[in-house]
């Protein structure tokens, strides 16, 4: 094989590796223990004063006790793991919060309040804590039950509600003229909701092969004369093969079936996907208090469900990596075969913060939810605004009419 120029700049941040806990079952994937052993289900208290009124302070990225104002943070997941080389990653390594979902485990959990002994019910499909209706203590879910509700790590919100509201207002403000009139009338960005969305964050060590055909133009010439003049080309045709070994750090993939289903004809999930990436290296160990005041969406996809999407994305990355090595084929390249070999992958389940404004729009008897999403860390905004078709058609007709009149004038003058 001939060595070709490297396609990337190679200037990458350091990679990390994680300690692996061997399992008793030799056929099972090695598990990384990400449990936060300091916390249990139920009442979790402020380390300084013992109050349970704890929530995230987004501007600082810290947990704050609403009683004594003490601030603290859970350890970053990356701080608890050992530096390493992703090229040495082999097999499938799984975070303890990313293991397969047990369908027999209910999303609705009942906890006994440590303050008064009452039974408190929490629906983990939507939230990870509840207030005891008798003694007012806040109870949170922190143990990794196998129902997909407690991930390995959480990336706390950094963008505040007011900031998200301003960004959504600005985004929609640029799209007023042809927006659906009902959307404009009912637009209320203060209703934006902070949601922790479930993702699989994957490191991978892979090799890819692609094969196809490339063409180089050798001659361009014309035949005939006047109106019968035609251009012809001569070209050399090459059989091309490429191989690339690569590692990927923190590839982020949806682990909710509903969010992963992206079809622009019937939903606007693609706009939520567009606000990726997140600074996942700053994710912290799980503490349900980070979710107080926000909603969450439970993971419902196992690694085996998501693996085809991982392979698809790795193939796309490989094709992108080899693109610069076929620049000389000026008539283009047609890749016809491809293969991905994933030597190793490491899966961490994570809740990532998204501010979500949603608007239900119905047209011609068909309804669609339009989202405007704000990345809860970087502030990147993307959205879908329903269009007023009569207005847009009128504008298109005016522009087309003006161009047509100009053309007629040119033809008449000539």
């Amino acid at each position: 094989m001939t060595s070709l120029p490297p396609p990337g700049d190679g200037d990458q941040p350091p990679l990390v590796d994680t300690p692996i806990v061997p399992t008793t079952d030799p056929t099972a994937a090695p598990i990384i223990d990400t449990r936060n052993e300091r916390l249990d289900d139920g009442v979790n208290r402020c380390p300084r004063c013992g109050a349970t009124e704890i929530q995230l302070r987004p501007s600082a990225g810290m947990l704050i006790c609403l009683f004594c104002r003490h601030e603290w943070s859970e350890a970053r997941l990356d701080e608890t793991i050992v530096d390493g080389d992703l090229t040495a990653l082999s097999g499938t390594v799984v975070g303890s919060g990313a293991t397969d979902i047990d369908t027999d485990v209910d999303a609705v959990m009942t906890m006994k309040c440590a303050g008064c002994g009452a039974d408190v019910v929490v629906n983990t499909a939507e939230q990870m804590g509840a207030r005891c209706h008798w003694c007012r203590h806040v109870l949170t879910v922190n143990e990794q039950v196998p129902n997909g509700a407690v991930p390995d790590a959480v990336l706390p919100f950094k963008i505040t509600h007011d900031d998200a509201m301003a960004r959504i207002r600005q985004f929609a403000g640029k799209r007023r003229m042809f927006a659906d009139r009902a959307f404009l009338r009912e637009f209320s960005p203060e209703n934006v909701v902070g949601v922790y969305m479930p993702y699989m964050v994957v490191d991978a060590n892979a090799s890819a092969d692609v094969a196809g055909v490339g063409e180089v133009q050798t001659r361009r010439y014309t035949r005939g004369s006047g109106d019968n003049k035609e251009t012809f080309y001569d070209a050399d045709v090459y059989d091309l093969r490429r191989h690339v070994d690569f590692t990927v750090d923190d590839l982020t993939i949806e682990s909710s079936a509903e969010r992963a289903h992206m079809n622009a004809a019937i939903n606007t999930n693609n706009v939520i996907n567009t606000i990726l990436p997140f600074d996942t290296e700053n994710a912290v160990k799980w503490n349900a208090s980070y979710l107080t005041g926000f909603t969450s969406e439970k993971r419902d996809q196992d690694i085996d469900h998501v693996r085809p999407e991982l392979e698809d994305q790795l193939l796309s990355i490989a094709r992108s990596q080899v693109a610069s090595s076929v620049g000389r084929y000026d008539r283009g390249v047609r890749w016809e075969r491809e293969r991905i070999d994933v030597h190793g992958s490491r899966w961490i389940s994570m809740y990532l913060p998204v501010w979500l404004y949603s608007y239900y729009h119905e047209r011609g008897g068909k309804g669609m939810v339009h989202y405007i999403a704000v990345n809860g860390r970087t502030g990147e905004v993307m959205g879908s605004v329903p269009v007023s078709h009569p207005r847009l058609l009128a504008a298109a007709a005016v522009v087309g009419g003006v161009i047509e009149l100009l053309m007629i004038a040119i033809l008449v003058a000539s």
Binding site: L15, T252, A323, R334, V387, A397, L411
Partner: protein
């Protein structure tokens, strides 16, 4: 009336050396405005650019290029099915 005038202009322009295509610019412009604005509002084409926005470390690409034949006198200016930049369009897997 307008249709008659346009038809006459079209015939005259054709006789004048093939400038009739100018009359197509109006409908094309209208279509471009409609489609462009619709996309700006709905953003149906957007997605996470994971190929560029993920931390990737790749070894130098290796490979083989072998000339297999020559094409002469084709009217095609590009290879059929060019997918060099369309990284997400999947092709058949190796057997």
């Amino acid at each position: 009336m307008i249709a008659t005038v346009l038809a006459e202009l079209l015939a005259a322009a054709d006789d004048d050396g093939g400038s009739a295509w100018l009359l197509l610019l109006g409908p094309a412009g209208a279509g471009a405005v409609y489609f462009g604005m619709w996309r700006y509002y709905r953003n149906t084409h957007t997605s996470h650019a994971f190929e560029r926005e993920t931390r990737i470390e790749a070894q130098p690409v290796t490979g083989h290029d072998g000339k297999v034949k020559e094409i002469t006198g084709t009217k095609r200016s590009r290879i059929d099915g060019d997918n060099r930049t369309d990284h997400r369009r999947r092709v058949r897997r190796f057997d």
